[in-house]
Symmetry: C2
Subunit: 428 residues, 2 copies
């Protein structure tokens, strides 16, 4: 089968796709709505619909408060144990709880207080701004004893190990990075960077929001200390589904959480007046889990575990390579530039295409065009000039990619984007 920009080639790739059947596990009522934003909000699994209905009608409606004795209390740990499988951790090293920012706050504050003798928190400029805000807030809250040092990257795409090695010093308390960058999809070599941190006596904290469910992770094998991540992107857990945190087993009892919550107490139902942190991962909980939002996660996790991260990564690489091939053939001549690493080893599961008119092109993609009343594409825009296209191999088809890239080509060739305002809406 020869590589080609023809549609027939995309259809051939779909026919050969051994994971193709997983697409049916998702609610997809409009095949002409091409969804390339699963890295922002994953699709709704079919199984989640009756599951959530049962949670509402039976667990809340009928079990009422007894729901807490029938599994709700254990959910953060139980889902954590299941998620641990996906990220190469032990079941008692992971909790599903709170939000990514909040978990980052908890682990960053705990780590900086643990390494209070060192002053540097090292991160990078292409990290999620939300993560940088959390770091800035923690440093201020702890009395400005630490300083945030940011690795720079001119092109926000690649960064060499040598530069990281130089940046990590004997004064580095914590290296806190996002594994896959939200704009470019640049992916750090987690194992070697963690090793560099350890060699200097620092802890390593990874934000896995754009890598969990997208690339295989082996936190234990790579000796990662701390991690946080999101469940509503590639994990398909639902809008605002609780996030997760990971703390390496032997560190758990050495760290003091900054927020002392009832669920973190050793014996919450004794109603003691003084807080005593629980042993183990439980001390990183805060309080009552958001049950409805929490319950959307499990059916979604089950699908990922069934498909297997190895297979998903293989398809993800094939699909991002295909996308980049089409972009090079069709879009580079129209003024586009690849905003993601060319080498798949350095790339997560999305591809950014850069163009000065990226925002208006995104607006045009979301609307049906005059020549074809049904086809629409949902990408997302990241300032200043990125069209971010997310590949979710559980449900993205090669044909989706072909149609989407072809649509971008048409929008450029026909100047359709010029009909759209430059005024920006909020976009996630």
């Amino acid at each position: 089968m020869e590589k080609s920009t023809e549609e027939v080639y995309a259809l051939q790739l779909d026919n050969q796709d051994t994971l193709a059947g997983f697409r049916e596990r998702f609610v997809i009522d409009d095949p002409d709505l091409i969804y390339l934003d699963g890295n922002s909000l994953g699709r709704l699994p079919q199984a989640t619909v009756p599951h959530l209905q049962d949670v509402v009608k039976n667990q809340w409606g009928k079990d009422l408060v007894r729901g807490w004795n029938r599994g709700w209390f254990e959910k953060p740990g139980q889902l954590g144990a299941k998620l641990a499988d996906l990220i190469g951790a032990e079941p008692d090293e992971v909790l599903v709880c709170d939000t990514t920012s909040l978990n980052l706050f908890k682990l960053t504050a705990a780590a900086l207080r643990f390494r209070v003798d060192r002053s540097i928190l090292l991160s990078d400029e292409f990290n999620f701004p939300s993560d940088l805000y959390v770091f800035q807030g923690v440093i201020e809250l702890l009395g400005n004893k630490h300083r945030l040092k940011l690795l720079k990257s001119e092109d926000s795409i690649t960064i060499g190990d040598q530069r990281i090695q130089d940046a990590i010093t004997e004064d580095t308390a914590l290296v806190a990075l996002t594994h896959v960058a939200f704009k470019s999809a640049f992916m750090y070599e987690m194992e070697s960077v963690t090793k560099l941190a350890h060699q200097a006596g620092a802890l390593a904290l990874w934000d896995l929001s754009h890598s969990v469910g997208a690339v295989p992770l082996k936190l234990n094998e790579w000796q990662v200390d701390l991690a946080v991540g999101c469940t509503y992107k590639y994990l398909n857990g639902g809008p605002g589904a609780p996030a997760f945190l990971y703390v390496r087993k032997d560190l758990q009892n050495q760290l003091i959480p900054p927020i002392w919550g009832w669920f973190a107490d050793q014996s919450p139902f004794d109603f003691n007046l003084d807080f005593t942190p629980a042993e183990g991962i439980s001390r990183f909980q805060i309080s009552t889990p958001h049950i409805l939002s929490m319950m959307g996660i499990e059916p979604a996790l089950d699908i990922l575990l069934e498909a297997g991260m190895g297979h998903l990564r293989e398809k993800s690489i094939q699909q991002t390579e295909y996308l980049i091939y089409l972009a090079q053939e069709w879009l580079n001549p129209l003024g586009f530039q690849l905003g993601s690493p060319l080498d798949p080893i350095q790339r997560g599961s999305h591809v950014s295409l850069r163009h000065p008119e990226a925002y208006r092109i995104c607006r045009a993609l979301i609307d049906p065009l005059p020549d074809d009343s049904s086809l629409r594409v949902i990408p997302d825009f990241r300032a200043p000039d990125n069209i971010r296209l997310g590949i979710a191999p559980l449900y993205t088809t090669y044909s989706d990619i072909h149609r989407a890239l072809n649509r971008i080509k048409t929008i450029l060739e026909d100047g359709i984007y010029q009909e759209y305002s430059k005024k920006q809406l909020k976009v996630t």
Copy 2:
């Protein structure tokens, strides 16, 4: 109609109840399951079932990431504005977000840093232990510059204003109390205590978890500075529904939140590398709201607003008075003691009955008894000896109260509780 312990009297009261029709707005499939734990987890409103189904199937399933531009982003503020009506606040003084403990953490830390020149955080021993844990954690996190002073109450029921007046000094930074105590239902006179705090130059922070939706609140009129509260108790928002926070308008821009989240930034979609807190109440958000859990709150709030807090409070007082009357007639002779204030002005919407065998009596109440295969009562137990009976006037009937108290009487008279183990399960 003469007061009596006969069932017919309860039925008469139900017939005369102008709020009786609201019971039909809730999913109640088993009239023989008497639910007196709405102060722990409120019942499921009928309207919430299709609403949540729409959120899952249409908003998540079809709108996908566009849901954020179709109302999700605004939910914390929009629901906050609605809730403001219930608590006597302005629309831009309330946010629905995070958990009660987390909101308490945010406001306590912000208040102590605002009044850093004063060293005392004043609370009481009958506050939620979860609140005390948060206070202890904040104090430790801020470097032990403050000290937690707890008002004591021998009987955990009443506490005089004089004792509070003596406890609040020129060194008090923050008076942080729970309006209605979780065990005894003792209710502080919020306005006068707030005034005492202000006279000494301290701020006042109230936890409204057991009062919102149960008693009328006038935060603005009472000049309250800060408040937090829960939406899954009397508000019927669903298990683990996001909590709320209130910050008095003119204080908002003076307080620095301890967690710097993306949703608290002035312009989150500019993706600036440095955090700038938003003006107003938004700065107290953290990050992505838990949409599914958040969406259960609105239909529930609408019911409460329709019924009106004045009417609900009137019925609540009548019902707790009736419950106490039956307890005095039937249960005091069997070794029970009232664990709540006798004066309704000092009492919230639940009643605690104390008995040395409270735990086993609770276990027996939850099971059907041999003489009547269907009747069961869900109270909850609070160590060491409280049976807590919650009155939710939207759906609790006088007949419910009669049958429940009668059942407790039978369990005692027939010694049925003795068949139950003393080993405690978790109970919320």
